[in-house]
């Protein structure tokens, strides 16, 4: 699976959203922004991912889903979405925008500009 290149403009703002322990293992928290909610996920390996909190199927809040491995199952109709890319697991088709995450020790930084290839809204 191709991982979408993370290209962030030089003048991009990184927002500090919290620390790793703010997010439950195999869980998610929501960052509210003027352009919609962003879900910040933490899996069992303490990897952090960020996706638009909107399932490509019918807009369900992915942050509320069950997380397993590197995937989240949408709570509304159970679509599986890959956390790294936001792409729905086959045979379902569609994707949720993926956002860059940067770590500084335990601190989690989020960029509000989606990864390359994803729409801003």
């Amino acid at each position: 699976m191709n991982i979408v290149a993370k290209k962030v403009a030089m003048n991009e703002e990184w927002i500090e959203v919290g620390v790793v322990s703010d997010i439950p293992k195999d869980g998610a928290r929501v960052v509210k922004t003027p352009l919609g909610d962003i879900a910040v996920f933490r899996n069992m390996q303490d990897e952090i991912f960020a996706l638009r909190d909107k399932c490509p199927h019918k807009g369900g809040p992915l942050s509320q889903g069950i997380i397993y491995g590197k995937t989240v199952a949408c709570p509304l109709h159970n679509w599986s979405i890959a956390l790294e890319t936001g792409i729905a697991v086959a045979p379902d088709e569609g994707c949720a925008a993926s956002f860059p995450i940067r770590m500084e020790g335990e601190k989690v930084f989020l960029s509000l500009t989606p990864n390359e290839g994803y729409p801003v809204k």
């Binding site: 959203v17 439950p24 195999d26 509320q64 069950i66 397993y68």
Partner: protein, 813 residues
């Protein structure tokens, strides 16, 4: 790490399925090479009949084209027949000289059609019905010639006859015995089948033994029988059976006995050599249907991947004739013996014949002609070994439900048009499903759910989907004997429950490492199930795994389509006082609730509450004496009541108080699936207790107790359990039944399917015949309640799980 070399001789469905299963679990273990004698990549041989009949094309039925092999790094040699195995040097050699070395070898040489050893069997125009080459020959002949004679009136012969008739030939079926398909059908059903096929224009010559095929200028012109009679034939199709292809194996000194002999892990006597598919003889049986072969493939792949935990122990099979317009199904031991008994429904004029074979109150075989839609249900009863004594007098009439929602009253998939909707939750038509089955090579209900979404939501069209699968694939559709919990494991629900109990496993990581879970983090199917099994088996030891619960149970509200929640406080026994009404009205106003609605469970629902507002709203309600209604959980939901002797002129018992008492005893408890009760004050049953999981009906002398009802997608009326006299007994029986259900049912199994699966007789033996056991179950329920009977709302109002309800950060606009 250097890969081992895996070579496969044969490129058919069983062999390729083994490779697919192997690639799923150990994609990098082997360098794989495949030798196929045919010029084609892997195609669905079962669907050759529809290709012959003109209903599908060869392109449609390809399962894995040459690109698939390339994509998976498999070296494919087509048109190369392996003629020698050198076991000492571990190499195989093809007729044209190509060779390959192996560390492991799979023999998947399939079967050969049996050719009658009569003079003339090598004439032009005499063929079998096995591969694409045969189908091409038949289609060719149908364009140039007139008379087709099929020797062999079994499944394959009849399908060939049907196909050739549709192509315009004059078809005669010759059969050795007097009875068609005598391996699957008994004489009465055979006669009905023959009649239907004759109405379609097929001719039959029964009880005829072929003596010779007569030729002219090298091509067949007639078939002569032992009794001297003859019949003209321009095309003769031999469909008299298949024999496992063991020539290669035998030449290499591998033990064969009608098939290549293998053990339960699909290995031959040479442990580096496996055999799979139709060429195999396992525990004395050679299978000619695909479902068992796919089960074998899974076990073989498992062993090749060095997991070593799978064993194949044999299959019960079912068959369905793939002739459009003919409904015919048979399964298991349909002939019966001295220690079996038959239930028979015979209506020759109506074209209906059903025979069920029973042994020790269990279904062991079935033959259905004319109406086969219950085939899958009977097959399920056979596989589960369900005690059918409570169903005995209705068994022949099929899986009747009082009312089914969601599929327009259709129960016969065969009668539906391609444009008819099968799945009304997701808008999937019959044509969509058939197309997916054929073009995507689907074989199971799970495949259909995944690729079309049919039966993936409410499940009311499951029966129809199963029929469509049976009909499209013939008997090849077969759900496995016992279904694994999910893709993370090969263990079934029951096996996992037993392991948790017997090996004292108390956490999800424990279970996963002890039972060899394939995915270390599980999946959305198994994690909630495991969590439930752990807390219900070890209530005082196992810790509830919060992140393994569905959102509804984490947020203690029902998530709505827009991400808001619904809040339903508990109203005990459906009774309410003015204070509670005011509290709910005040909460609705204070928190700007968009909609307030009454529920079927006799409660009040506030819809559209934002998640962040939940803890505050709960605090508000708690201050006014209201607690969670658990309307969102796999938990005790409601106890509905009708007024009873307090007010009603007909009421013979105080149903409202009984309902309140039941609810106070059971609220807060977690169950395999939602659990609903009701108490009526008299047999008029105004509380509808007879469609509840546990229903109580007040009678003059006490109370009637009912179990296993369901008022949803598949309406099921309760079974009467017993009558009791005191309120204390009602409480004891209610708790005991609930506890047994909690300890023994599978996660997401309502009491209705559970009672049908284990049988009412079993429930009665636990609840009525074993007073000590019942009392002990009651005790265990109460002990578990000491831990779990509490209000989750009040806790969260005070700040528990705050992270669930607060955003991590709010970024200003």
């Amino acid at each position: 790490m250097k890969r081992m070399k895996l070579v496969m001789v044969g490129n058919g469905m069983a062999g390729v399925r083994t490779l697919e299963e192997l690639l799923k679990i150990a994609p990098d273990l082997y360098e794989i090479t495949v030798f196929g004698a045919e010029p084609y990549a892997n195609y669905n041989r079962i669907l050759l009949s529809p290709v012959l009949a003109g209903e599908q094309t060869i392109k449609d039925i390809m399962l894995n084209d040459v690109d698939w092999y390339e994509k998976n790094g498999i070296t494919l040699h087509l048109n190369k027949k392996i003629s020698r195995i050198d076991r000492k040097n571990r190499t195989v050699h093809a007729e044209d000289g190509t060779s390959a070395a192996y560390d492991r070898l799979i023999l998947a040489t399939g079967s050969n059609p049996f050719l009658l050893p009569v003079p003339g069997n090598d004439l032009q125009g005499v063929i079998s019905f096995r591969d694409i080459h045969d189908v091409d020959a038949m289609v060719d002949a149908s364009a140039k010639y007139k008379h087709a004679v099929i020797i062999g009136g079994g499944l394959l012969g009849l399908e060939a006859a049907n196909g050739l008739k549709l192509r315009g030939m004059d078809v005669t079926v010759v059969h050795l015995s007097d009875s068609l398909m005598e391996r699957q059908l008994d004489p009465v059903a055979s006669t009905m089948l023959q009649k239907s096929l004759e109405e379609k224009g097929l001719n039959f010559l029964m009880g005829k033994q072929t003596e010779q095929l007569i030729g002219k200028d090298g091509r067949v012109v007639a078939v002569r029988f032992k009794d001297g009679s003859e019949v003209p034939a321009d095309l003769v199709v031999m469909a008299v059976g298949i024999r496992p292809n063991t020539t290669l194996a035998e030449s290499a000194g591998i033990h064969c006995n009608r098939g290549i002999v293998v053990n339960d892990t699909m290995q031959t006597f040479d442990p580096r050599i496996y055999a799979i598919g139709e060429c195999v003889s396992h525990r004395g049986t050679a299978y000619g249907l695909v479902a068992p072969l796919f089960e074998m493939a899974k076990v073989c792949a498992n062993h090749l991947a060095e997991y070593g935990i799978g064993r194949y122990t044999g299959s019960v099979t079912s068959t369905k004739l793939k002739v459009t317009g003919i409904e015919l199904f048979s399964a298991g031991d349909y002939m019966g013996s001295e220690d079996t008994e038959n239930l028979l429904l015979s209506d020759p004029k109506g074209g209906l014949y059903k025979k069920l074979v029973l042994k020790d109150n269990k279904l062991v075989g079935a033959v259905l002609y004319g109406e086969s839609e219950d085939g899958n249900w009977y097959f399920k009863l056979m596989r589960e070994g369900t005690d059918i004594s409570a169903l005995r007098n209705r068994l022949l009439f099929g899986e009747t439900h009082l009312g089914d929602a969601g599929h327009g009253g259709q129960s016969k998939a065969a009668a539906m048009k391609d444009t008819d909707q099968v799945c009304d939750c997701n808008g999937v038509s019959k044509g969509d499903i058939v197309k997916a089955i054929v073009t995507k090579g689907l074989f199971t209900l799970d495949d259909v759910k995944l690729h079309t979404k049919a039966a993936a939501s409410c499940g009311s069209c499951t029966g129809l989907c199963e029929q469509i699968l049976s009909h499209t694939l013939g008997g090849e559709y077969s759900a496995p004997e016992s279904k694994p919990m999910c893709k993370c494991t090969d263990h079934t629900h029951d096996q996992v429950r037993a392991a948790i109990r017997e090996q004292k496993l108390t956490s999800i990581p424990d279970v996963m490492s002890t039972l060899g879970w394939k995915r270390s983090d599980g999946c959305p199917s198994c994690r909630p199930a495991l969590n439930y099994y752990l807390i219900s088996t070890w209530p005082s030891v196992a810790k509830d795994d919060y992140q393994s619960r569905f959102i509804n149970e984490r947020a203690h509200g029902n998530i709505q389509k827009d991400g808001t929640y619904s809040v339903i406080p508990r109203l005990w026994g459906g009774s309410v006082d003015v204070g509670q009404l005011r509290a709910i009205a005040d909460a609705a106003e204070k928190f700007n609730v968009p909609e307030v609605k009454l529920t079927g469970g006799q409660r009040i629902d506030m819809l559209g509450v934002k998640k962040e507002d939940l803890p505050a709203m709960w605090g508000f309600l708690a201050d006014r004496g209201l607690v969670s209604g658990h309307a969102y959980g796999k938990a005790l939901r409601t106890v509905k009541t009708c007024v009873g002797s307090d007010w009603c002129r007909f009421g013979v018992q105080d149903s409202t108080q009984m309902g309140i008492d039941l609810e106070e005893m059971t609220w807060g408890s977690w169950t395999p699936h939602k659990y609903k009760m009701a108490v009526s004050g008299c047999p008029r049953n105004c509380a509808e207790a007879t469609i509840k999981d546990f229903g109580v009906v007040g009678i003059d002398s006490g109370w009637e107790l009912h179990v296993g009802g369901n008022g949803g997608v598949k309406v099921r009326a309760t079974d009467l359990l017993c009558r009791v006299t005191t309120r204390e007994e009602v409480l004891e029986y209610a708790a005991a039944f609930m506890q047994i259900y909690r300890e023994e049912a599978r996660y997401l199994e309502r009491t209705a399917p559970w009672v049908e699966r284990v049988g009412l007789a079993y429930i009665k033996s636990r609840m009525l015949d074993d007073a000590e056991g019942r009392a002990a179950a009651y005790q265990r329920f109460l002990e578990s309640q000491e831990i779990y009977k509490f209000d989750p709302w009040a806790e969260r109002a005070k700040g528990v799980d705050r992270h669930e309800f607060t955003p991590l950060k709010v970024v200003a606009g």
